[in-house]
Amino acid sequence: MTQSYESNGSEGNGHDNTGINSGHLASVQGLPLGMVVEGSVANGVEVRLDPGFSVEQVKVGTFVTIQGSNNRFFGVVTDASLGSSDPRMKYTPLPVDDPFVIQALQGTVAYGTISVLPQLTMPDVMGDEQGPAAAKSIPSHFSRAFTASQKDVETVFGSEENGNFWIGSPLDMETKLCLNLGELVKRSMGVFGKSGTGKTFLTRLLLAGILQSGEASSLIFDMHSEYGWQGQDADKGVSVKGLKQLFGAKVSTFTLDEEHSRRRGLSTDETVQLGFNHIEPEDIELLRETLNLSEVAASAAFNLREKYGEEDWLKEFLAAGRGGSLLELADELQVNAGALRALYNRMGRITRYGFLVEHSRVDISARIIEHLERGQHVVLEFGRYGDDLAAYILVSNLLTRRIHQKYVEAKESAMGGGGKEPRPLVIVIEEAHKFLSPSVASQTIFGIIARELRKYNVTLMVIDQRPSGIDSEVLSQVGTRFSCLLDNERDIEAVLSGTPGSRQLRSVLARLESKQQCLVFGHALPLPVVVRIREYGPKFYETVQGGGDSEAEKKRKVEELFGD
């Protein structure tokens, strides 16, 4: 059972028939699988497996090529099933302990079929300039199906040598599966999956890729302080390197909780302090659910702003509350006194956060933008406030709104010829359904970014375990989706909404392994793919050691220094 796995993928070895029994489907040359027996463009084609090929050897999500009479198709296995030429077979008592009889029946009367969804037509000549195109037809009857070879996968997904980022391997293959990061950051992306399925590791990997490629800056709202200096691998009980350790000066860490950072023995670049003057009624509106405020109470904040002005409304309101004049204030604003009292109580809770001061002259969002414009990446660690959802939502929303504003200004002046384009920015948020739930998505800045900020070079990376809680309109704007295992029906439906072939992908998604596997589909990829995610560990560190700049990044820096 020898089989070669040459990474350089030389062609023309002929079919290695011993591979049929070896359990490995991938080789330099694809193995013959079977033959197309029926199908449709909408539902994909049925491939009847050759007698020698057990249905057990074909996994859902595996890549397959089909040689039609004029085209070569590239598709993915979406289902495998058992068929029989005689419907009475299941009622006929067969001598199952006689291997001879069973072998004679296998592949003839009882056979395996796989459903393949042809996604692309491959260029006629391998390595042709012209890449694969979306398949608009299906292969004809009796076309032969093969497992995809490494060369096929490289043709479709691009290779690492061409500047793509190696994220993992397809199922059952050793091939490097690569992502085009330039395309990835052009649209918002989402990382979904149940708790403990490796979302954080995948995100860390993607961020490292983005950092290394220099395609964009990133701003990470790091809820549990696991991206900055180091994170924990809960399964192995070891700590893994964060972005700062890997990329050094390219990453700036901000913290809300200096004490927490100090306790962990880390020095951070800046400590964030926000003033009451930075908080706006819109922020309160967003926190309504988290703080359990009524609609009336939340909208009272707008009345307060009207009365006291943008800068001082919260400060004055708290002062009035402390002075015991809430009733008069309610009268004056013509809002329900109970609602105003509730608002006061909740505001009191928020203002006890250590990172909030009565008045702050430092515009922390400007500081963050400074870092971002220098081509750096910013990780904002929440320290002990990470467990406080209200704090996370407040701070990330508040900062993002300001950054958004500045990006819009910069982009508009660039369009008017008055400055350079703002650098693409990826904003990373966790627990995204809290920001993007249908009830608040229309108000939060994240909803706006998801919907339209692509035009202003800002995209979102949302990380979430309950995608069904995210507004469907926002979700439909998430260009590239990485989905680890999900088992809730509604979540699966939400993640796959608006994706062609979602019915077939559903079975793939529900059968992912609970670790290190994810289904990737959308804008940055020509077709959906199940990825065995690459190990984030010492081997990976080596490839990024020193945080050296990529070619694109070097060019950008040179241009920045010497360009006009």
Partner: protein, 192 residues
């Protein structure tokens, strides 16, 4: 070298009957036989031993005899009064030097000699297995038995009998893909 076992006495497009030269000298069920000029192959189906004159039925004669041999010795006329015949289902022919596994244009002539095929011939002829379909559809009352016997008989003539058996069974499975119960009964007859 092929052994001559009889002579065609009755002939139709799909089968012929041959009379044996020796009493009880018919080839085994499922054996491959051939006529010459023209070369027509067939598989032995029904074997019959009966009185030459149907009006004179055979009577039991061994009531007082000690052994079966004694019966024959004491009644030497028996060998002359009885005859063995076998029915052969045509399963192929040679046309312009090429072996075809379908029915010949004309059945063998009466009085054609019938030979039992040598292992080499068996191996060569059963290199293709289209004959199985002919046999299954021969209309013989016990076609399944004939098919099973034919496969069992042919296997030892091949260099790799097991492989031949499996290939034959796979061919059967394709032919009988709509009737698993029948297929199953033949497979159990063939299973080593």
């Amino acid at each position: 070298m092929a052994r001559r076992v009889g002579e065609v006495v009755e002939s139709t497009s799909t089968s012929f009957v041959a009379q044996c030269y020796q009493l009880e000298g018919a080839p085994a069920l499922g054996g491959l036989v051939r006529t010459d000029s023209p070369d027509i192959y067939g598989v032995v189906g029904q074997v019959t031993t009966e009185p030459l004159d149907s009006a004179r039925p055979v009577l039991a004669r061994g009531e007082d005899a000690d052994s079966e041999e004694d019966v024959i010795r004491d009644n030497p006329q028996l060998a002359r009064l009885l005859t063995s015949r076998f029915e052969v289902y045509i399963s192929g022919h040679v046309e312009d030097g090429v072996t075809r596994q379908y029915l010949p244009p004309r059945p063998p002539r009466v009085h054609s000699f019938v030979y039992l095929c040598s292992p080499e011939e068996v191996s060569k002829f059963t290199g293709r297995l289209d004959l199985l379909r002919l046999l299954l559809n021969s209309g013989a009352a016990h076609a399944d038995e004939i098919v099973g016997a034919c496969i069992r008989q042919a296997a030892p003539a091949h260099e790799q009998p097991d492989e031949f058996l499996m290939q034959a069974c796979k061919t059967l499975a394709v032919e009988l893909s709509g009737d698993v119960a029948r297929l199953n009964s033949i497979l159990r007859r063939v299973s080593p």
